[in-house]
Symmetry: C2
């Protein structure tokens, strides 16, 4: 199998935001403990919160408080900022990376952010201008890149068009989300083969959910195409407690184990990472959704 | 990524043996229901029991009874037969495929079957002769092919030597077991690249446990090298209930989902397969260790 496996992979840890946003609420102190533990384990990119309406996402209402309590100059802390108000609030606590979020599916965009894809992009213009003026970089999430719960198949050309627009607007990187975890390597390869013809691999990240147990395999397929940035969540956080059978993000522990086995640098201490997962899942009163974590815990 | 992905894959369902052997005991009737349900889902190769001492493996003590109760002429039913006594008992209930079991690690062989690898092979001579005389085919399992709990790394050349001896003795196929689920694709590729220089791919199967969540990714790596026979267990059966954190075989549901996504033929009805898993895990009073199963259950 020919391969473009990268020498090093950058993990973007999304457990404290994309993960905890889809779990039962935890105390502010538990979030601070989690982020500090992730940083101590060696993670350099941590999505630390979301500046969104607490009416819609009550789990993120304390993001200012969480981020203000951190003192991690060596870590790139990012936060979801869907609008100017959120961007200003994130900037006020020193966030140097914003994240904006749209979809490659019109139906998903309508149901989740009540507008068309085009409108969602237009809405970000204020955030982008604010970011540029304040020397803050912006990451663009595209969800449903491998399939949509409403539309089914998603055309890779639609993903390309959305990704290209986000880059043109000034995003430094696009995180490609398999939001419903429906993809397999065939779709990953089809999508990335198209995207990589137009976008440099250094500007693409994969963000795969593990609903059908395929996330790690899909990540492996992406690594083989040279992708070197992977989003993941410690303990596989994000399995919504209210949706039976829902699985969260791919577990960072399992990704790190894979990278170790492949001889790819990642800079993360697996044991300390697993311990961070045990702490937060204990606060959530659940088991980590990571087999590596379970295996290490049994040792 | 260049690939030798096969057009079709043969699933060898090991849940009723390798799976249930490592679970709490279930009723004979539940085993019969399971195997019939697996066959009804379209599985053509089912490991149905083990003819071993009930002193060591009480969960398999009713294998004769289970297999006698089946009427599945279209299914290849196999059974573990470590010695002549077991082989005769399996033959008495009409088994047409035996399975024998050794390891690629001396330490593991000593701890698990109380002899050297060489001695384990010598012990099978009676079984092989009996099988030949009665027109029964024999499958050879080699465990610890990607690592050993006692020795650590296992030399692929040792695996090759053991596999070659089993083939020479008359086995039609070698099932390569990552018994402790420790491997990643790098080791899979290293091992198979060596083996495939000496053994035709049609004679090799992969049998991966999911202890570290890597099994499906490892299977994908093997498929890319042309391997077309995969062992798996419905609902990921085999997570020993007495060992905290232990994970069982890779779940057949997750493998089938992967194959479907890759456009590889498998002949299995995923919904009926998942239902077979729900039945047996209900009897075991546990949840299926399959994310595909959980996702289907939530629908």
């Amino acid at each position: 199998m020919s391969s473009l496996l990268p020498k090093a992979v950058r993990i973007v840890e999304v457990g404290a935001r994309d993960g905890l946003q889809n779990e039962a609420a935890v105390e502010t102190a538990d979030k601070i403990t989690l982020i500090n533990a992730l940083a101590a384990a060696g993670i350099k990119d941590i999505e630390a919160g979301a500046f969104v309406s607490p009416k819609w996402v009550p789990q993120m209402a304390d993001s200012s408080e969480v981020i203000s309590a951190l003192n991690l100059p060596e870590v790139n802390l990012s936060a979801l900022t869907p609008n100017l108000k959120g961007a200003e609030a994130a900037d006020a606590v020193g966030i140097k990376e914003f994240a904006i979020f749209t979809a490659a599916s019109e139906a998903f965009c309508q149901k989740n952010i009540n507008c068309s894809i085009e409108q969602s992009l237009a809405r970000f213009s204020e955030v982008m201008a604010f970011a540029k003026a304040n020397n803050i970089r912006v990451r663009g999430y595209v969800s449903c890149v491998l399939g949509c719960p409403y539309e089914g198949d998603v055309d890779p050309h639609t993903v390309l068009a959305v990704a290209a627009k986000l880059l043109k607007m000034g995003c430094y990187e696009i995180s490609l989300g398999d939001t419903i975890g429906i993809g397999t390597p065939a779709k990953v390869i089809e999508l990335l083969t198209l995207l990589l013809k137009h976008i440099d691999k250094s500007k693409l990240a994969v963000h795969f959910h593990d609903t059908y147990g395929q996330a790690l395999t899909n990540i492996y397929a992406a690594l083989n195409l040279g992708i070197a940035t992977v989003d993941s969540a410690v303990a596989g956080l994000g399995g919504c407690p209210y949706a039976k059978g829902a699985s969260g993000n791919v577990a960072t522990e399992d990704v790190v184990y894979l990278l170790q086995g492949l001889g790819i640098e990642h800079g993360i201490d697996l044991q300390r990472l697993a311990e961070a997962g045990w702490q937060i899942t204990s606060a959530l009163n659940k088991q980590p959704a990571s087999k590596v974590s379970a295996a290490l815990h049994a040792q």
